[in-house]
């Protein structure tokens, strides 16, 4: 029997079948920049293989979903390909990304869950705005709907689980929080996060490359807008420059 020597530079990965044409590769179980870097590294290595049996690759905080064509590749060959790609770490340099300032009108009709957050946390609306807007967030992933940025890490003072029943329609531009994350709904969609404000910016444009305002690895800061008029001015500016 042979034993494999412990290798700190190669942490374990877990490949879990997710239906019959996808696997989820788990690279960790926390939201942190190191795990995120390993995710990006695996994605890049798989991208470089340009295997036609892989249909799509979806990076997330601590995992990568891989859609494959089971008519073209067996599970064992796929697993080997993934393990190989995961073992070549460090090919992606820690990129600083761009720094984005995103204006937000907090509370009122644009932040219907503000009162709920106040009740849960015992902070005032002003304090919640201050806590939410003081952090420089990292964009860990883009997902759910086109251009939705998953930003972390939210100050633990505001950590609240998702809604027990998701809403059927959250308006476009809604800025929301859930557990240690904050994000922006680019289009009206169902959703289970708590909505605290709204940005006038467009998050997605299918004619641009990349099509999203925020990319993985970017830094994002929320800038409070004082009133409805300022919000409308920014919005008008965007409409005029289409």
């Amino acid at each position: 029997m042979t034993t494999t020597p412990p290798n700190d530079s190669q942490p374990d990965i877990e490949i879990v079948p997710s239906g019959d044409r996808a696997v989820t590769v788990y690279l960790g179980n926390s939201i942190d920049p190191q795990t995120s870097q390993r995710v990006l590294s695996l994605v890049k290595n798989l991208d470089n293989q340009r295997s036609e049996s892989i249909l799509d690759i979806v990076p997330a905080y601590a995992s990568v979903l891989i859609l494959y064509n089971p008519l073209k590749i067996s599970m064992s060959d796929l697993s080997r390909m993934i393990e190989k790609a995961a073992s070549h770490q460090g090919t992606v340099k820690e990129s600083t990304g761009k720094i984005l300032e995103i204006p937000v009108l907090y509370g009122g009709e644009y932040g219907p869950d503000m009162n709920f957050i106040e009740e849960c946390t015992q902070f005032s609306e002003k304090e919640i705005i201050s806590i939410h807007s003081k952090t420089l967030y990292r964009a860990y992933m883009i997902g759910f709907t086109p251009g939705f940025p998953y930003l972390g890490t939210l100050d633990s003072k505001l950590h609240i689980p998702r809604r027990k029943t998701p809403r059927n329609a959250i308006p476009e531009g809604s800025v929301a929080i859930a557990e240690g994350q904050t994000g922006i709904y680019p289009v009206e969609s169902p959703g289970g996060w708590h909505v605290i404000g709204k940005t006038p910016l467009n998050l997605f444009n299918s004619t641009l490359n990349p099509p999203t305002l925020v990319s993985i690895g970017d830094s994002v800061k929320f800038v409070p807008i004082d009133n409805e008029n300022d919000f409308k001015k920014i919005r008008e500016n965007i409409e005029n420059h289409r």
């Binding site: 079948p17 008519l71 709907t145 680019p186």
Partner: protein, 372 residues
């Protein structure tokens, strides 16, 4: 050269242009979209001489009224919504010749929920991120990201070869969807986040498809599924057909327009060959679940793929499966090999495999030879 082929007189309830979906952009949050019943879409394309991936029209519950502007072949698969050509009833699952000026209408829904209409040469709309599929929420693909509407003119790039129209080869019957559904699933990826009874509850209960069900997902009503601790996981990618369970315990099956990622724990995932059947269920109907293994799901997919090849080659259905060590073969009764030799390394020994065309089991018994 594109030619005008269809004029939309009435659009129906929700008729959208779809192909097999938009892959490669989920990392930007762009959903796959595409036909909800992929097998019906692929079959409809093959029947009119197209490659499987060309764009057609997905019709929902109430069909459109269309006028043809040039002669072509059409095929209608999936749901039976009583299609008529110039007032005369026409059959689904076969190519039908249409002439300039002919009018296609639909009537009462008889079976299923979504029909697929294809024409020889496919519907020509610009590719957006590699696909012609319509994604309504962000208005991309298809006709500027919207459903068909009155007055639309659709165009096609006609086939560059002679074509006489295909039908299902002898031995095949078109699917009957019915009202009582059993959907096959594979547990995971996060069944460990649930109470030990959760999967038993899912497998032993009937669930009603709620009215809040659409191309994005089907919300189910029935016995609640309990998490072991909490419903939230660190957000990760949503595989096609995955069953997520929010804190309220009501499962949601994620379909073509699903969000690319999500943070509710996923107890199980519907297998590929049953996603089409699911798309043909109607809100208000009920369904149950049954577990299969990953190798079984892959074999069913291979058999379905063999059935598609048999449609384009006009061969009889697969009648034999042979598992020899690491290889699986599917042959038709003429002895032609219908699948390529695909390595099947999972330990898979079973005495009987049910073959399906689309979503319906074959009448034909399949012989399975164990490798031992």
């Amino acid at each position: 050269m594109n030619i005008d082929i269809i004029k939309v007189i009435q659009p129906g309830m929700l008729s959208t242009i779809q192909d097999l979906g938009r892959y490669g952009y989920q990392r930007y949050g762009v959903p796959v979209s595409g036909a909800m019943d992929e097998f019906a879409m692929r079959s409809a394309n093959l029947l009119v001489g197209n490659k499987q991936h060309l764009a057609g029209i997905e019709i929902t519950l109430v069909g459109p009224h269309l006028k043809f502007l040039s002669p072509t072949f059409i095929a209608i698969t999936g749901a039976d919504i009583s299609p008529t050509l110039n007032g005369k009833s026409i059959s689904g699952w076969k190519a039908v010749k249409v002439e300039k000026g002919d009018e296609l209408k639909f009537g009462k829904r008889v079976d299923g929920f979504r029909s697929y209409l294809t024409i020889s040469g496919g519907i020509e709309v610009p590719l957006v991120m590699g696909s012609r599929s319509t994604y309504l929420k962000t208005s991309i693909g298809g006709l500027n990201g919207r459903p068909l509407s009155t007055g639309d003119i659709l165009s096609t790039a006609p086939l560059d070869h002679d074509f006489t129209g295909l039908q299902l080869p002898p031995g095949y019957k078109s699917p009957v969807y019915g009202g009582r559904h059993t959907i096959r699933i594979i547990p995971g990826p996060q069944q460990d986040r649930f109470d030990s009874d959760a999967i038993t509850t899912l497998l032993s209960s009937r669930y009603t498809i709620s009215e809040q069900s659409d191309r994005m997902g089907y919300k189910l009503k029935g016995p609640r599924i309990k998490h072991s601790e909490k419903a939230d996981v660190i957000s990760d990618g949503n595989p096609p057909g995955t069953i997520q369970v929010p804190g309220d315990g009501n499962p949601i099956i994620l379909l073509s327009d699903r969000g690319t990622t999500g943070g509710y724990a996923k107890i199980a995932t519907v297998i590929s060959v049953d996603l089409g059947r699911l798309a043909q269920t109607v809100p208000g109907q009920s369904l149950g679940f049954k577990c299969v293994t990953l190798p079984e799901a892959h074999n069913l997919l291979r058999i379905q793929n063999a059935a598609l090849r048999a449609i384009s080659d006009q061969k009889s259905p697969p009648v034999g499966i042979k598992i020899e060590g690491k290889f699986i073969e599917v042959k038709n009764k003429e002895g032609d090999l219908l699948t390529s030799n695909i390595r099947n390394e999972e330990d898979h020994v079973e005495s009987k495999v049910t073959a399906t065309i689309g979503n319906e089991s074959f009448d034909l018994a399949l012989e399975v030879q164990n490798p031992s």
